[in-house]
Amino acid sequence: MNIVVCVKHVPDAQADRGFNESDNTVDRAGVDGLLSELDEYAVEEALKLAEASGGEVTVVTIGPDQAADAVKKALQMGADKGVHVNDEAIHGSDAPATSLILAEAIKKATDGNPELVITGMASTDGTMGVVPAMLAERLGLPQVTYASELTLGDGKVTIRRDNDANTETIEASLPALVSVTDQINEPRYPSFKGIMAAKKKPVESWTLADLGIDAGQVGLANAWTKVVEIAKRPPREQGEIVKDEGDGGTKLAEFLAARKFL
């Protein structure tokens, strides 16, 4: 089975992340980026399925030049080929526009017939988690989301979704789109051999025009939502020091109760 995985290049959460002052978008140039950790689970799951079934894994990303690193990392892990959609007009795109570009890229990469699309459950920068559902709708595929287990068989995909109070087993007919959680597997590291092999793997670089998308459908100016203001989190306030005069325990309990911890 041929599988498409959507991946995103995000600012390193360990670094000092920020926003562009001019338009309140995420600063992607001034911070080291990497393949979103939540997407590594999607890549790993696709690799496992492809290894078992003999298919190919294609990774698709959208983003500026450095987003190619996310594709490269997935290729080093073992994916077979990559697609990088890179166009200045994409800057500032919201989730509907992102899903539009991804959908067209997936159609082009699969001649309009994707068999299985796997995504992470959210990106680690935007953390909206809505793109998988929007993408499924645009591709006309059934969506099964937040999978912490995934099996294929009889033309169906079956997932387990762990909720707070229960566990659901959900089936969908193939082709389908699945988003996976960070509980589904342990992503592999790239290997030295994988790093060497990745240099020879094909990566397509497409623009909006290659996908037949009008620049007026995407980008910051056409976003349905907009970040209007950004304020830094205020510094943490000075802690309250309670002197224990024999009633320290009571005071501590009162402190916690007042904040509804007890």
Binding site: Q14, K72, Y189, S191, F192, I195, M196, K199
Partner: protein, 596 residues
């Protein structure tokens, strides 16, 4: 990402801004690699070291290996980490391509290994031993030995040991007693006792490949009568399948001060605990020729000793980063003249704490530069032609005792300073730095003690060599000084100091050479080693200063500050060491030990 294991920024600076690693990729030997490959490999090393090695470094120390009389038990995280190391391909990434490896430059492999040692030097030890054993068999073994032993070592199915020392023979290998008796089938049977053997038994792998030094019957006395044998824990059939248990067991394990996670053992060969083929005696396979044991072992010694240097450097480096992070956060006291009721300042604001941090920085970053420089010389030796390759090899031979010893001594001092910066907290087991000190203390002892390195440098690498390699070093130092003089500013002052001290080294070397290198001279070999070591590291600080010259930002300012520290506070010590050598006054040779 700011790591407290190692500085990726510094590694990047040394490899690319200083050593111009990209130039290697233009040579046929390394043409298949690129900046992209090495960056990805370094990133991989950082990730595996951070996620699989570092988390159990403490546990490895607190729950040291146990031995129940039959089996050695380790915490399970060790096996998981080593599997990740093998799966990532690090066991063979640095092996030349024509021997089935990845052909990565040694300078890149050394930087990767620094990540692993800094994260967890004890667990790294197992992988390093396997790499060394595989390398020796690949280089000196037969085709069958390569297939049956080197290949499984290279893919992580087997692990290796180096079984040299005995209860009565450590630094003095010529006194070893283990016997190897030839058998009709071409194998040997070994009988004897070994001591201080790291990784001598455990359940981490399917098999353990011991490389054992032993004497054959009628062998010449001394080192010429020593041969080297492969002694597997389980016999290996021609098809690679595992057979009977070999007659090598443990008398016990040693309980160490540090590096506790690397099990250290006392193996017994041929006591009849097992009887392979129905008879006692450990089955061994001769590697190379009879009597070639020591030359074979020592052909791997440059790499092994550089490996120890990398370990010492890395453990010092991580201690520096951890004490620096602590000093930036911990509020303690006020600066002189500040109002007593005012807010406390971070430790890092105090001049004496800064002194200790700057000293650490100068030792650990200087040592890392030294390790990568020596590694680059090994790369040059295999990728350049003719005289350039010969020069690189001669220079790395000269620098190896320094590269082994400087980190063991001065990165250990960095660990002492890391404890000191953190005060009482640093002395507790709540923090890592006390363990780093204990772990690092090993590095002046194994793979040739500090004293042996002094004798190697002065006796063999300088006097026996008649100063040829030293001349190459002096030429390179002089070139650096000329560039620093041309750069101007503080570079001129550094260059003058460096040249003056280099002239002093030449002068003292000539003087002891003329004196004939007798017992009084060699008695001061350690002082010669330490003086040369500081001089070499000062030179490499000036090299780093030049690489940072004209560049702005905290990182480069840090390089300039550490250069200033090393030249003003450390380089002057060289004169004292060299004075001792020049005097070779016989204080220790003439001393009556009863007065001690």
């Amino acid at each position: 990402m700011n790591s407290v294991i190692l500085s990726a920024r510094d590694v990047d600076f040394l490899l690319h801004e200083w050593l111009d690693t990209d130039a290697l990729f233009e040579r046929p030997t390394f043409a298949q690699h690129s900046r992209e490959t090495v960056d990805a490999v370094l990133e991989l090393a950082q990730a595996v070291a951070t996620e699989k090695f570092a988390p159990h470094a403490r546990s490895n120390d607190l729950h040291e290996p146990t031995f129940d009389g039959t089996t050695v038990s380790l915490i399970p995280e060790v096996g998981v980490a080593l599997k990740a190391f093998a799966d990532a391909g690090f066991l063979t990434a640095g092996v030349p391509e024509d021997r089935g490896g990845g052909g990565l430059p040694t300078s890149i492999i050394s930087a990767c290994l620094a990540w692993f040692h800094a994260a967890n030097t004890a667990t790294s030890g197992y992988a390093l031993l396997s790499m060394a054993a595989a390398n020796l068999i690949r280089t000196h073994g037969s085709d069958a030995q390569r297939t049956l032993f080197a290949e499984p070592l290279a893919d992580g199915r087997f692990t290796g040991t180096m079984a040299l020392s005995e209860p009565g023979a450590g630094s003095n290998l010529s006194d070893l007693l283990t016997r190897a008796i030839p058998q009709e089938d071409g194998t040997h049977r070994l009988f004897g006792r070994k001591m201080w053997i790291s990784g001598g038994d455990h359940e981490l792998a399917d098999n353990i490949v011991h490389l054992v030094l032993a004497r054959t019957p009628d062998a010449a006395p001394g080192t010429k009568g020593i041969s080297i044998f492969i002694v597997p824990k389980y016999l290996v059939a021609e098809d690679g399948s595992l057979g009977e248990r070999n007659d090598i067991v443990l008398a016990g394990i040693n309980h160490k001060m540090g590096s506790r996670g690397t099990v250290n053992t006392a193996p017994v060969l041929g006591d009849g605990a097992h009887t392979p083929g129905g008879a006692p005696g450990a089955v061994g396979h001769l590697v190379g020729e009879v009597g070639q044991g020591l030359p074979i072992m020592f052909s791997m010694m440059n790499e092994a000793r550089l490996g120890v240097g990398i370990a010492g450097t890395a453990v010092g480096y991580t201690g520096y980063l951890k004490s620096l992070a602590y000093a930036r956060e911990r509020l303690q006291g006020r600066l002189l003249g500040a109002p007593p009721a005012g807010p406390q300042v971070a430790l890092v604001e105090h001049p004496d704490v800064r002194r200790m941090l700057l000293a650490q920085k100068s030792f650990v970053e200087g040592a890392l530069a030294l390790m990568l420089y020596c590694s680059r010389l090994l790369d040059d030796a295999v990728s350049l032609d003719g005289r350039a390759a010969e020069e690189a090899l001669a220079l790395v031979g000269l620098l190896t005792p320094i590269a082994k010893s400087f980190p063991a001594q001065w990165c250990l001092e960095a660990n002492t300073l890391a404890i000191q910066v953190m005060g009482g907290a640093g002395y507790t087991r709540d923090h890592d730095v006390e363990q780093h000190y204990r772990d690092n203390r090993l590095n002046a002892i194994h793979e040739g003690t500090h004293g042996i390195q002094g004798l190697d440098l002065l006796g063999r690498k300088v006097l026996l060599d008649r100063g040829r390699a030293l001349g190459l070093l002096v030429a390179r130092i002089t070139q650096t000084a000329e560039r620093a003089t041309a750069a101007g500013g503080s570079g001129e002052g550094y260059a003058a100091k460096l040249l003056a001290m280099t002239a002093r080294l030449r002068d003292v070397t000539t003087r002891v050479a003329v004196a004939g290198g007798g017992a009084e001279v060699l008695a001061e070999a350690t002082a010669y080693l330490e003086g040369s070591g500081h001089l070499v590291v000062a030179w490499l600080w000036l090299e780093q200063w030049l690489a940072a010259h004209g560049k702005e930002g905290d990182f480069y300012d840090g390089k300039r500050a550490a250069t200033a520290y090393f030249f003003s506070r450390e380089l002057p010590k060289v004169g004292l060491w060299l004075d001792t050598v020049a005097a070779h006054d016989g204080l220790t040779t003439a001393l009556d030990p009863t007065v001690l």
